[in-house]
């Protein structure tokens, strides 16, 4: 039993790293422009399909294809922001929410029209490989996904902390008006932030492709987990999303030891509701 739980914790951390990257994108977008992107998980699907297409065309490993996937989804996301999100930035919340819902429908249905409803996957040499550490198994595809996510998170951190654009983005997220008065062009910031947020989701899609199937509605598997992670981390807090991702990943995996698979998500909802009740400002107590 103990061994099972330890194994679940290891798996949970590895998967949680991916959740973190996914949720960081959502948190970044909310922090900067106060929009919850309900289509965020469809960008995971988009990343998976792009990685799949690259693999099918030239046989490039999805992990190695991360830069390509990131750039492609970033560009698409930035265009979406400019054309669709920018016009509703000052609109009522209901317009913002249902615009992203509409976007989600378009993306899922578009994928289905392009690729059909079939489940697709890639074959890698390390697909079934695992490292063993004293009875604990570490699956190689999980480990690679985690490492790629960690590198991505580190790059994002460096961007936000060390570059002028990153600083401008953090300033905008703290106080939009003040940032504007300091000469920061918010329109450009919003576009780049949305591109980054969706690009990160795309990267999460690429890195899980070696161990997960891709199909048009695959994003739905991640959307609720993702919202739980950002709520737990404090809506709009990037560092909170990282911690939240790891916590949810571990709880999710450990609960699978005790509960039937169908009820695994019930635990995620329990965390979500408990967060709302007891710690609405999130684990790290960011702005609420």
């Amino acid at each position: 039993m103990t061994e099972q739980i330890l194994q679940a914790i290891v798996n949970g951390i590895l998967i949680g790293g991916v959740y973190a990257v996914l949720a960081v994108g959502l948190a970044l977008v909310f922090g900067v422009m106060e929009i919850v992107n309900f289509a965020q998980s469809e960008f995971v699907m988009l990343g998976m399909y792009i990685a799949y297409a690259v693999f099918a065309a030239v046989g490039l490993d999805p992990i190695a294809a991360v830069p390509i996937v990131f750039l492609a989804v970033f560009a698409f996301g930035a265009a979406v922001q400019r054309l669709l999100i920018q016009p509703v930035l000052r609109a009522p919340m209901v317009s913002q929410i249902f615009l992203t819902v509409g976007l989600s429908f378009v993306l899922v249905a578009g994928a289905q029209l392009l690729f059909g409803a079939t489940f697709l996957s890639v074959v890698t040499p390390y697909q079934t490989a695992a490292l063993t550490f004293g009875g604990l198994q570490v699956s190689v595809p999980y480990l690679l996904a985690f490492l790629a996510s960690a590198v991505m998170a580190a790059l994002l951190w460096a961007f936000l902390e060390r570059t002028d654009m990153g600083r401008a983005m953090r300033a905008t997220s703290q106080n939009r008006t003040a940032a504007q008065l300091m000469g920061i062009n918010p329109t450009r910031i919003y576009m780049i932030a949305f591109g980054l947020g969706t690009g990160l989701a795309g990267v999460a899609g690429a890195v899980i492709l070696p161990y997960a199937y891709v199909f048009p509605t695959v994003g739905h598997n991640y959307s609720l987990v993702m919202f739980t992670v950002v709520t737990l981390g404090g809506l709009g807090s990037v560092s909170g999303a990282v911690v939240g991702g790891l916590v949810v990943g571990v709880i999710h995996a450990v609960s699978a030891v005790f509960l039937p698979t169908q009820l695994q998500n019930v635990v995620v909802f329990a965390i979500f509701l408990a967060t709302l009740l007891f710690r609405p400002s999130g684990l790290l107590g960011a702005k609420a």
Binding site: F98, L99, V101, L113, V266, F269, L273
Partner: protein
């Protein structure tokens, strides 16, 4: 008749439109073939019109964007069906139970989320419906799981079992239920709750400060919506004879569809969801029949694209074209018997006692151990340079923020810890620096919201509001909405709204900023008149001449600390005040 309509705030033209719609709907129900396909679709359209109207109660009126109203719908469908199967309870009774469960569920979702930012309610509704769907799929013994649940057919007990031949009886039941939800919508739109909801939609903080219990208003809207939605779930189960988790707890099948219908017709408009449902349900049926298999994705794609286009091009929906074209009913106003003030403290007696008030933000102490007393019918000036902590003190006094330490006591009642609307009810009200009006509402409606704190009816609240508007010298017909007023009139309205709550203590936060000398003199005159009616007033003001002229006493602050207190001349000559605030140029002010 016209008096009755006026009581409902329905104009004659609007009443005629309603009558024509009712006749058309009844005629359609009678003329269409009873067991035909068309009446079946129309019945579904009316059913969804009712459900979408219930969604509009939160999504449109209370600005709570639910993405999980299928939770209530599905609970209602399962509750009545299970009670019918296992306990033989008539679905009519089941519908009542369902409504009750819907109200309870609305509280479970609402209570933890109402005090948070709106996005949390949205996410909570989304999580709630997913949770219910998973549970319904898992507990197959109770719900039949993914296979679904059929309503047993009882041919001999038609009415009791809520089972009829053909669609016609269901159609008229749906129509009756739609009428009920529309009536509730009218109550929301034209009644006191509607005023409160519109106010909180415009500015939650100003609504609270004007005595609106915003949490309560939102919970009431959510409860009506949840209960009615559950009743439509029961009707759906009876009409279809079959339910399954993926349909009745469905994101696309119910939750999003209801929102889409409402947005299409016109969100926040009484008849918006009705128009949207009548267009979307038949369209949906047609699309489902036409696009099958893989091309079903095409219809989903078009839906998504249309939703995006709708939001970008016509975010207020189709009915917004008509809105404002119909004449509105003349509002009822009660005879002016209201008296503006309720203060009964004798002049000179202590009214408001502030003790050791402290507010710390992280490392910054914005207000530090501030104590003072305000006497009955006194005008107290609160002065200090920028960042002295004056506005924070006001925010604390009005209950819009809670102090780290210290207390505020009004006539022996402790205000500290109470929410702003309760503080307003007890009699301490503040105006907002730079004004926080209900921009989309008319001038009169801005003060009516505040009047509802003291008056049970709108007519009385209007009388009280008109009295306050007259006092500040603002014509209620000057502009169609508060958003179109100029700075001076905005300040007037801000004061009028605060005065309409009949405060014992009025807190004026820079109410004379930007006024010309003549306008300032008028404002001072008005403040003296308010005091004469029995109110005690604290003014925060940068215009030193104005403060010195009007205040009986002055409290001076700097860096969060009280540095001086006394008569205007004494404070003006106080060395600390001169040093920190008045400076050389103002030394001769007194």
């Amino acid at each position: 008749m016209s008096g009755f309509l006026r009581g409902l705030a329905v104009s004659r033209a609007e009443a005629l439109c309603i009558l024509a719609t009712v006749l058309a709907m009844v005629a359609l129900g009678l003329l269409m073939e009873g067991d035909g396909y068309n009446l079946r679709i129309l019945t579904l359209a009316v059913l969804f019109a009712g459900a979408a109207t219930a969604w509009n109660l939160v999504g449109g009126f209370a600005n709570l964007i639910s993405m999980g109203h299928a939770a209530f719908f599905g609970l209602g469908a399962y509750a009545s069906t299970l009670l019918f199967i296992h306990y033989g309870l008539s679905p009519w009774g089941g519908m009542l139970v369902a409504g009750f469960i819907g109200v309870l569920a609305s509280l479970v979702i609402g209570i933890p989320t109402m005090h948070l930012r709106g996005h949390y309610y949205t996410l909570a509704t989304l999580a709630a419906v997913e949770l219910l769907r998973i549970l319904a799929l898992y507990f197959t013994g109770l719900t039949g799981g993914p296979v679904g649940l059929s309503v047993p057919y009882l041919p001999n007990a038609s009415f009791w079992a809520f089972q009829f031949e053909g669609s016609r009886p269901y159609y008229f039941i749906a129509l009756g239920m739609l009428a009920v939800v529309l009536a509730v919508s009218y109550g929301f739109d034209r009644g006191p709750l509607g005023y409160r909801l519109r106010a909180l939609k415009n500015s939650p903080e100003a609504a609270e400060a004007s005595g609106v219990d915003t949490t309560r208003a939102k919970l009431i809207a959510n409860a009506w919506s949840g209960g009615l939605m559950a009743a439509f779930g029961t009707l759906y189960a009876q009409f279809q004879f079959f339910i399954d988790p993926d349909t009745v707890f469905g994101f696309w099948t119910i939750s999003i569809k209801l929102a889409m219908m409402t947005i299409l017709g016109g969100i926040g408009l009484i008849w918006g969801p009705f128009v949207g449902a009548l267009i979307l349900v038949p369209l949906d049926e047609w699309a489902n029949a036409t696009f099958t298999g893989n091309s079903a994705a095409l219809s989903r794609f078009i839906y998504g694209a249309l939703l995006i286009a709708l939001i970008l091009i016509r975010p207020n929906g189709l009915l917004s074209i008509v809105k404002g074209r119909l004449p509105t009913a003349r509002p009822q106003v009660a005879p002016a018997t209201a008296v503006l003030t309720t203060a009964d403290a004798a002049p000179g007696d202590p009214l408001l006692v502030v003790e050791g008030l402290t507010r710390q933000f992280g490392g910054l102490i914005a207000v530090n151990e501030v104590s003072f007393t305000l006497n009955g019918a006194e005008i107290l000036g609160l002065i200090g340079p920028n960042g002295a902590g004056k506005s924070t003190t006001f925010t604390l006094l009005a209950g819009l923020d809670q102090p780290t330490r210290g207390s505020v006591i009004l006539e022996g009642t402790r205000l500290t810890g109470l929410p702003a609307h309760a503080v307003a009810r007890l009699g301490v009200v503040k105006t907002f620096q730079n004004t926080a009006l209900f921009e989309d509402m008319s001038i009169l409606d801005n003060v009516v919201v505040a009047g509802l704190l003291r008056c049970p009816t709108l007519a009385q609240a209007r009388a009280l509001g008109l009295e306050a508007l007259e006092l500040v010298g603002l014509d209620p017909d000057l502009a169609p909405t508060a958003g179109e007023l100029n700075t001076v009139d905005r300040l007037r309205l801000e004061i009028a709204r605060a005065v309409t709550t009949r405060p014992k203590v009025l807190l004026l936060d820079e109410a004379m900023a930007g006024l010309t000398p003549q306008e300032t003199d008028l404002a001072l005159e008005m403040i003296r008149r308010l005091r004469a009616s029995g109110m005690a007033i604290i003014v925060v003001e940068h215009n030193m001449r104005a403060v010195m002229a009007v205040a009986d006493r002055i409290v001076a602050m700097d860096h969060g600390v009280k540095i001086a207190e006394g008569r205007p001349q004494e404070v003006a000559r106080h060395p600390k005040v001169i040093e920190s605030y008045l400076g050389g140029e103002h030394r001769d002010v007194a």
